[in-house]
Amino acid sequence: MILIAIILGCVIGALIGINMPMISYTYSGYLAIAIIAALDSVFGGIASTLKKNFDLKIFVTGFFGNAILSILLTYLGQKLNVDIYLAAIVVFVGRMFNNLGIIRRFYIEKWSKNRRKNDKKEENKTVGE
């Protein structure tokens, strides 16, 4: 169900995004950092649904809040001549790897559990015969 929603969202988004107008080059840097922040939020959302502690309010505010905050920080950094966006990228990408690790571990555990169960069933069958 969640997977279907994600794929559907991505496909429709890509179809509409291709036909969207271009933004000016000056703002593309800000959009890039917002994309990284949003990507992190989405992975975080998926990881927390798997861990069953998903909170809609936290997710939505995180999605928009992180994106806006990172844009503001990038802007501030440009005014102060400090590359703050690098720090934002390090944090977001680090968290993305964390979340991806959680997702990966969840599915690997599920898979190995299933296999163990199947093995036991087969053993029982052979013993029963």
Binding site: M1, I12, G17, T26, S28, V60
Partner: protein, 237 residues
Amino acid sequence: MKKKQVAITLGIMCFLLTIAICVQLKTMSSANSTVSQTLSDNELRDEVLRMKERYDNAFADLGNAQKELEKVRQEATQDNGTAEAKEQELKENNMLLGITDVTGEGVEVFLEDAATTDNNLNASWQIIHFDDLQWVINELRNAGAEAIEVNGQRIINTTAITCEGNIIKVNGEKIGSPFTIKAIGSQNLLYGALERAGSWLDEIRNAGNTAEVKKLDNITIVKYSGIIDSEYLKEDK
């Protein structure tokens, strides 16, 4: 029920995210056709793109300001006979100076370098030179052309057409083959002057280059985009 809500929210977020990514990809692919290796190159290119954008914005602002000025002038002279006459005169003078877009009947001349190099002919003849443009423009002027444009550059009273190695500069802007010369004036006179036997277009064709003349009923000629100023001119009393 809760799972459905979660799925819909995640879907919407992914939707927004993909739109943003697509827009970003599009912008970057149009901005960076070549990816350079060094950081300083990237920074320089960044700077150039920003400057270009700023220039475009400033140019658009200038256009808007001129339109506004026009509007203010019109409002100021709305119910005043002499002012209206002055306004009319000002408009006409601007048109003659070349700082307004003008439209009217006229001809369009298309000149292009020879496509193949024929060894029997002199290679230097087989390209359009700056003096070819000067000759054609002189012939147009001679036939009473009232406004002339070459590849988007309006010919005004301070225009110079110069040869700068392998490019031609008009109004200080680089242009290259193919050339499109637009001229407003009497269609038949202009056409006749350009296509008469022994005209300069004949010479251009003899050298193997392309030269075409089209009569058009409605030609728009752009205004001069620079600034005309004078430093030494004073009125003689």
